[in-house]
Assembly symmetry: D2
Homo-oligomer: 395 residues x 4
């Protein structure tokens, strides 16, 4: 066995799952209990209300499915649309690709707008497509807010304005899996009809809860939507949730964990959480610049505050950097997926993180890159990030 143990903590810098805070970890250690008991709603009823805060929604209704975020994708689509319904969806990374694939599988007719990987949704093109759709056959626009594969954040407010400018009644569905709880998100203000997230990113929980925040309009649409659904049915949830229960046995540790995670976000303050993600991301980007490397995101306007996809120089395999980082330095980085496989490595910087954690990770990136033959100055990225962080600090 000698040599088999890895000392110290793994540095988890994939863009999800993210680190679970100690107190959330503790909160999930619960004995099982009767989820039909008279006291159970004391736990659950505030949850539905409090979860809305992270979506910045007052109007919406929260659905908590025992599933991954993928399940929440399916729930949003099947509850509100019918087979053959047309939807418009920009595609510019692995997760937008997968959501489109899922939409097709459940029977929707997806009009795909391909964008370059490294760019995001183009409001002008969306507006154009909607204007062209005079018969209003497009029932919804599907946008991935933060494309985790490329580190690109789209401007959802601009998408909303584009829809409005086109005078088109399409609903707006947004995948906020790697943004909600980390990057500014405004369901009500942006008129998001289905906002989708999972428990394992900004909510700092293990995977296992797929969450949808549905607008009144989406709920109205659910009454006539004909996609087949059973497990993910909104109506079953709505009926049971009304009194604080679930249509089937819920994952108790995640419900208790969610309560504690929401308290964490509330105590730090959602605006401060967003600002912290910005500050950490600024540090990571300063490091990338100091290394003389570039991000996959083509333009600063696309820069994601939760994940930075770092392009490796020609002749270097990004997968090797990742492999060295993991084996030698116990640092988990995200890989390039699909079109960008091997061309980049991704630093996830979301969730329960602080400056020193990220500086440790950036140190690991530096060592792994140098081991892999990338010529960067040791300490350069760390120094640049430090300077960035010191500016942002006082008190």
């Amino acid at each position: 066995m000698a040599g088999s143990r890895r000392p110290g903590r793994n540095f988890l810098f994939v863009p999800g799952p993210t680190n679970v805070p100690e107190r959330v970890q503790r909160a999930m250690i619960v004995p099982m209990e009767d989820h039909r008991s008279s006291s159970f709603p004391e736990l659950t009823r505030p949850l539905f209300e409090d979860t809305k805060a992270i979506f910045k929604s007052r109007e919406g209704q929260i659905f908590l499915f025992p599933s991954s975020g993928t399940g929440a994708w399916e729930a949003a689509l099947t509850n509100t649309l019918s087979p053959g319904d047309r939807v418009l969806a920009p595609r510019f990374g692995q997760f937008s690709t997968l959501w489109i694939d899922l939409a097709q599988r459940v029977g929707l007719d997806v009009v795909i707008q391909d964008e370059e990987w490294g760019a995001g949704a183009d409001p002008a093109r969306i507006e154009e497509a909607l204007r062209a759709d005079r018969e209003h056959r497009i029932k919804a626009v599907l946008v991935v807010h933060n494309e985790t594969a490329t580190g690109v954040t789209s401007d959802i407010g601009a998408v909303r304005r584009a829809i409005d400018a086109a005078g088109h009644p399409a609903m707006l569905y947004v995948d906020g899996v790697s943004s909600i709880g980390s990057i500014d998100f405004r369901a009500d203000e942006w008129g998001v009809d289905c906002a989708i997230t999972g428990s394992q990113k900004g909510l700092m929980l293990p995977a296992g809860l797929g969450i949808v925040c549905a607008s009144r309009r989406a709920l109205e649409a659910a009454k006539t939507a004909e996609c087949r659904r059973a497990y993910f049915d909104f109506a079953d949830q709505t009926k049971a949730n009304a009194t604080g229960y679930f249509p089937y046995t819920p994952p108790l540790p995640l419900l208790y964990g969610l309560r504690e995670a929401l308290r964490c976000l509330s105590e730090e303050g959602l605006e401060q959480v967003v600002a912290r993600h910005r500050r950490l991301a600024d540090g990571a980007r300063a490091a990338v610049r100091a290394w003389g490397l570039t991000l996959c995101a083509k333009d600063p306007k696309w820069h994601s505050d939760t994940v930075s996809a770092v392009m490796v120089p020609e002749g270097i395999n990004g997968a090797e950097v990742i492999d060295i980082a993991y084996r030698r330095y116990d640092l988990a980085l995200g890989a390039g997926l699909s079109k960008v496989a091997g061309k980049l490595f991704r630093i996830g910087h979301l969730g329960d993180l602080n400056e020193l954690m990220l500086l440790g990770a950036l140190s690991g990136c530096e060592m792994a890159m140098r081991d892999a033959g990338i010529r960067i100055e040791p300490g350069s990225g760390v120094a640049a990030a430090q300077e960035q962080f010191r500016k942002g600090r006082e008190g």
Copy 2:
């Protein structure tokens, strides 16, 4: 706050979720990790193999969905059948009712065989129906092995023999949610094509994993089945699982918990686990007899070893017994559902239980029944159960 804390442990005797053993609880306290790392399959690959043991399957393939057992119901049906396909399903309790409802929602044509609540699947009627189906339009027979609502266990071996006697090619799907890991179950021997369970019963875990064990024939059927599916798609799982991964972020604590729970079952020995459930159930039934009451299960052949549904005398509301038990004695019992609402209370005796836990619960039943006005002899049920347990002990 004074008076607000309930001292001591809750006695959890609902038929699921069940008590999580200390060591399984511990095993689930894990830091998040990269579920795409090169070492992740060291965890997952043995899981798929070891989970088969509790189904007594060598031939089958295990699917682990982040969902409740209801999701596994949906997965089994949508992956192997096409809209309009006819299935035969006995109905004799709340869970068989719900499964049938789900089958209808996903588009199947369900031929329902109603049995009295308190009875189980009738192999003779199944054989008859299959014989009558000369065109073999019935694609599958759906049976709930252990009907949790009434405490009735059906004879799946007999159902298999009925199908064979009819010379009918229908597949056999079995809901083993409240039996597998507690009551003898033999997927291969009984030719079960889809065996379904959840994590929160015999597996002694929180809810959150829906599990299907699919036969080769079911996997073959999946190739042409046309029910719409995305989240619950077998093919996505099969592809990712082959190398130890998942198509979306898995619930890590449950995977680690599953590993430990399987070790628990293996160390106790699956046969001993089944024998223990029988022994505990015999004790519970001895108590019910000593109280002068009857079970919902109409005949000893239907007696469930995981849940006993106790009929309350005329003029007494079972819900009041349950309410008193919960409020005064911190004992959680299962309620009568639907047709039997108010007529019974249910003692779940499955999972990580021993004699003294059950004797404590039986004491709580005695006190609550007496408080509710049921005239039973105090200590009578406990004494009968003690005698039953002492017989079964030596060493």
Copy 3:
């Protein structure tokens, strides 16, 4: 490995350590931290204050030693007395014997008053001895409040009155290890100069904290006391505690656990905690009577509300009952110690307990006694305890 796992929970009915409540268990799962940090006193300072509540002391000072209760015995004596000092100590069980032994080892001259095992401290004899001590050579009276070995509770208020009646200046030291937090205890009212407890009984924590509540008079005596001490020195603690720190690294999990345990006691209400222990003890005693057996405590006035020592009939070895209970039924009972070895078994009923837990344990006692050849009526004790509990319940 088959057969090696014991399913379900151990029933822990030794008189300490006691069950740790779930929430206290969780509270102890803490990352290590700098115990010299500026924020550390936020944890510790309220602890010293809040711990006084369970002693019913306003005047006293709390000392928290990383030690067992034995360490607190030593701390109380060595900080306040000098070698050769005379102390008076009734002896009537294993723990009073051990404390006297410790007093002798640290150099004190102990005047021992032997009482029958099964009786407690005799205030009349104490008064007599003090009256006879005209020169006031006796510096302190040492009494074990609750003698855990025999299930005997002495009347400390009466001891105080005896000291006062004798007009003697002796200090009063009380071992409340198995009473404080469970049985009514009044440090200020009774003029207890050193009250001693440990973390593993009424405080529902693991062992590891020895606690002394010292009166002003004891603190005054500490200034001139000459017993050698270093680790257990009051002055080092006083100096460091004043600002919220400790003279050496404290056991962090226990401090966090103590905070949560005090909250538990406060939320239930200390009076309710005491009443609950009385109610449970009444149930246990009703069971013993129903079995036709007797307690070691010779008279109801000595009955302990935290431990019942049950005499086994002639010809039966109490150790065998205990052994059977542990091996067959996973029930841990306390053994007869020293003079009463083999003659009794002890049921500890203190800490985080409720009625059903105790009824489960009483069932285990019944089965084990019958297995060991004691002729009791099965269920008789359980029925008697149930009746007792039902009387005490409403709402």
Copy 4:
């Protein structure tokens, strides 16, 4: 509450307590149990044996006291020496000062050899003193192996050789609190008669176990030693430990934690653990050099592999660096104590650590130092440490 939560993990770089590994944390979550049960020795008996490995002792006997390391100091002295016995003790830092103080309190006559803070024990002076002690009045030599206050490691092998060279029968007592389990330690080879440690450093546990490894000679001396002792008595422990028990209630979580911590050390391999501490310390020292600063340790031969005490430039208060590090960057550093208060800050680099954790901490030191006005090059120390670590890595 907004703003009150500190996101991410605290970087704990005080020289104890140290980070508890996840699996050790888990192992300590145990239900209480009867510490007098027949199965309890299955836990404890291997512990005594396995703990010897970290002392590199085969001959010694392990004592596990529920106490801090200070208690183990007291245990070692009081069990083996008598009041008035003379001992020789070099003094060169806060912890050697405190041990000497304790020795005096328990009644020993301590001959103090003062060394400069920043130096360690001087074998030549020890030899000289022993040679001069012709009557062999010196019964023992007390040396702190790793002086935590100054980051100085003494050469215990050389001390042993000095004693031997003097032909003196004095016993050798070594405080290995911040070395054992981290820095090479050889109780048998060096003839250490009492080796002392605590649970909260190299053993990666919370504080709460004081551990002594006593040689046969020390055990022989215990038979006649007359220092008063009760709680810390070797004989009581020896008698109870022989069958796997303790003379008083042991702290169960720490025993289970110790078992797991020993497994961790064994799986990594004790030699690799020592090498890792060396590698991390080399990185820290490279950083200090790159910053242009010096260590408190006067000479490389004194360099500690578990703690580096970094001298701050004239005009800077080390306490301010520590304060900024804690408040702004959530980094806990050790303060300068007593003679060196304000003159340095200490980086503890022991226990469950890896390179990235230390690099994060070094980044924090850099930012805090710059914030406090120390002119160092940002990233310089981190870069130097990276280079050091990359050299030490392969595979």
